[in-house]
């Protein structure tokens, strides 16, 4: 008798063998300018259930550049494991050819050169084409959205997320979960949810008064003769990482015991397959998969990781589908008699130049953008260097934002949040108003200016580093490390809290940061209610208009030490 586990491993091995070969082929095809839609869609339909996973779109409806991280350290046991491998290590682990299309999509290696060969990625009209093609193979495929969908662009900000709601309704989502959605305010979320034609799931969202569940925890779908349960898990630390005053009556948390109870509840109702649509972040999901019994598939989100193969934890498949519309995951499953007997997986890269836009979706996207067309297109200046954000520490976009804060707000030091969203720009690209919103748009974008002592700055940095590098994933709370301007430092990521950050240097004077002296600090995205100041996108736009051309070298004032 062959156990279920054996089946899974056999399938996984097959996927590991096929994946790189296929990727290499795309690379060669692309070099011959023949990377085609049919190559991207090549997939032998398998089993009886298909899941399509999209997550962390951050309201990006247009094709974009998005450089993946070159530094993405994990805490504790996750160090050196996917999804914390980057660059050459990532390519070696997955056997990807260095100049292949997948290498370009998944790593920062030779990003600028390969970008010229492969072009931009994403675009909701291209995604609609892929989804339509998968549905042609499997009409009842489930489309699951991992959240961070209604936030992150100028149109989404101006319409309180309505543009994305309209577009995702047109795409035909079956269920979603959430995180940044709540920065629209709880009332706005409830208003949208009351009109959604699909499930808004979150088993871990409770009200603070009575500690009762607020949203549906799961939904059951009959697909291919199997009963599929989709349990939603919103970002557990939403009220800590984002302004809780915008949704004061809601409490989140991991709520692992309730997750286990929900798995048992859906199994008791006859679920043959249990899928968790999660916004936990990959490392939290990995730990949850090991501790909660009976989950077949976790569709991960939040940490923007993209993995070309599922990662197996016990008998649970973890799927990582990237962010910003760069990828769509197709997962075909053979589900029978309450068991997942095998799978076939493909992380489909959304190469915008190789995929025909779906005309209906293209028209809908254009209509949503039309009211803002003039502002979106305004060219503020040009960049002579690559602008990117993603990574544990300051990217070049962050350095540009920090410089804008210090110069426009007359500050000695700047702080900018370590969010993971925000596309890149290639050297030579114009910087439009849309581009600036893509890296700054939020409902609490006021750029504050305040006095902080050296000790307060140090304390804040230690606190944020603890949230990022805590060895236990359940204590990892937020995004990447806070970005700093005007400050150099050394960080020993594996030291305990209070001992990680040393060598803090006030760069303008070249002197050590004085713990007792007050410095003028400019920053944005404060979670404190009533924060005052101009909006960050206006601060950054003003700065770029004045500069005309910008060039930002890589940050060399942060030294990272491991071990």
């Amino acid at each position: 008798m062959i156990s279920r586990r054996h089946f899974l491993q056999a399938s996984l091995a097959a996927s590991a063998l096929l994946g790189p070969a296929a990727s290499g082929q795309w690379g060669r095809l692309a070099a011959q300018q023949r990377l085609s839609q049919s190559d991207l869609l090549d997939f032998d339909t398998f089993g009886n259930v298909t899941l399509i996973h999209l997550t962390d779109l951050h309201a990006q409806t247009q094709p974009i550049w998005f450089r993946e991280a070159s530094v993405k350290l994990g805490g504790g046991d996750a160090r050196g494991q996917p999804p914390h491998l980057v660059g050459e290590d990532f390519l070696a682990h997955y056997g990807l050819e260095r100049t292949s299309a997948m290498a370009h999509a998944l790593t920062h290696v030779e990003f600028e050169a390969l970008g010229q060969a492969y072009g931009r990625m994403g675009g909701l009209d291209r995604i609609a084409t892929l989804v339509g093609a998968i549905r042609a193979d499997r009409p009842d495929a489930l489309l699951l959205d991992g959240g961070d969908t209604w936030h992150g662009s100028l149109p989404a900000l101006r319409t309180d997320g309505q543009d994305m709601v309209n577009l995702m309704n047109a795409l035909g989502v079956d269920a979603m979960t959430s995180h940044w959605e709540f920065t629209l305010g709880a009332d706005r979320v409830d208003q949208i949810v009351s009109g959604l034609p699909f499930a808004f799931l979150g088993q871990n969202i409770f009200d603070t008064d009575w500690n009762e569940p607020v949203y549906e925890p799961y939904r059951l779908f009959e697909r291919g003769g199997a009963l599929v349960a989709v349990i939603g898990q919103a970002f557990p630390y939403t009220p800590i990482a984002n302004p809780a005053w915008m949704f004061p009556d809601l409490s989140f948390g991991i709520r692992e015991a309730r997750m286990q109870a929900m798995v048992e509840e859906v199994r008791a109702q006859g679920a043959d397959l249990v899928v968790v649509l999660s916004h936990n972040g990959f490392d939290v999901d990995r730990q949850m998969a090991a501790r909660v019994q009976g989950i077949d598939v976790i569709l991960t989100g939040h940490t923007h990781d993209a993995l070309p193969e599922p990662l197996l934890v016990g008998q649970t498949l973890l799927i990582a589908s990237g962010s910003n519309g760069k990828f769509v995951t197709r997962l075909d499953l053979d589900v029978r008699d309450g068991q997942m007997l095998g799978f076939r997986h493909r992380l489909i890269p959304v190469f915008a130049d190789a995929i025909d836009p779906d005309p209906e979706m293209a028209a809908l996207v254009a209509a949503e953008r039309a009211p803002f067309a003039e502002e979106l297109a305004e060219v503020l200046g040009h960049t002579d260097s690559l602008l990117y954000r993603r990574g544990n520490f300051n990217g070049t976009w962050d350095d540009l934002i920090c410089t804008a804060l210090m110069e426009e707000r007359d500050a000695e030091i700047a702080l900018s949040p370590g969010v993971r969203w925000g596309p890149s720009l290639m050297p030579g690209d114009p910087i439009t108003r849309e581009d600036v919103f893509n890296v700054t748009a939020m409902t609490y974008g006021q750029a504050y200016r305040r006095q902080m002592t050296g000790a307060e700055i140090h304390g804040a940095m230690e606190d944020i580093a603890e949230n990022l590098f805590h060895p236990d994933p359940y204590f990892q709370q937020g995004g990447d490390m806070v970005r700093v301007g005007g400050l150099g430092y050394r960080i020993a990521v594996d030291r305990p809290m209070g001992e990680r950050i040393t060598g803090l240097t006030h760069l303008a004077s070249g002197e050590a940061l004085d713990m007792d002296r007050a410095y003028t600090v400019a920053g944005w995205a404060s979670v404190t209610e009533g924060t005052e100041g101009p909006q960050i996108w206006d601060v950054v736009s003003d700065h770029i208009r004045k500069q005309g051309r910008v060039s930002v070298p890589g940050n060399e004032t942060i030294e990272v030490v491991t071990g």
């Binding site: 972040g281 944020i464 204590f475 404060s526």
Partner: protein, 140 residues
């Protein structure tokens, strides 16, 4: 009237606290003293005591903590880094159905919240949960 040892300890500790008032954070009452005050000096063991609290507090002003201990006669919750570390003591009568208590604690800083239970056989058990209080922000 007899004065129990616990009473004396409590009085002594109170005296100590008063003496040290001007010093920050009342660190003088360490967790060991606080535990001894409840157990009359006995070292608590492990038992059916469970404590659930969030890993990271959403709101340090109201951290939900639930403690359950079948067979407990009384349960005490300690927040050792708080100015008033003895949060509450709950006594269960012999006919109490569920030996569970749930409350919300204001927490000054990151700490191990400690639950102690005195069992019906007179023994003591202990469990703790780390709760982190953070400035937040920077969210994802």
């Amino acid at each position: 009237m007899t004065i129990s040892r616990r009473r004396i300890l409590a009085v002594a500790s109170a005296g100590l606290a008063v003496t040290l008032m001007p010093l920050p954070a009342q660190a003088a009452t360490d967790a060991g003293d606080l535990i001894a005050r409840f157990t009359d000096g006995a070292t608590p063991g492990e038992g059916p005591l469970t404590i659930s609290a969030p890993q990271i507090a959403e709101n340090g002003n109201a951290v939900g903590v639930e403690v359950a201990c079948p067979g407990a006669r009384s349960i005490r919750i300690l927040a050792p880094a708080n100015p008033n570390p003895e949060v509450c003591t709950v006594h269960f009568g012999p006919r109490a159905g569920s030996r569970t208590l749930s409350t919300r604690i204001r927490m000054a800083e990151t700490m191990d919240v400690i639950a102690l239970a005195e069992m019906e056989d007179g023994g003591f058990v202990q469990a703790s949960a780390r709760v982190r209080v953070t400035i937040g922000g920077c969210g994802g």
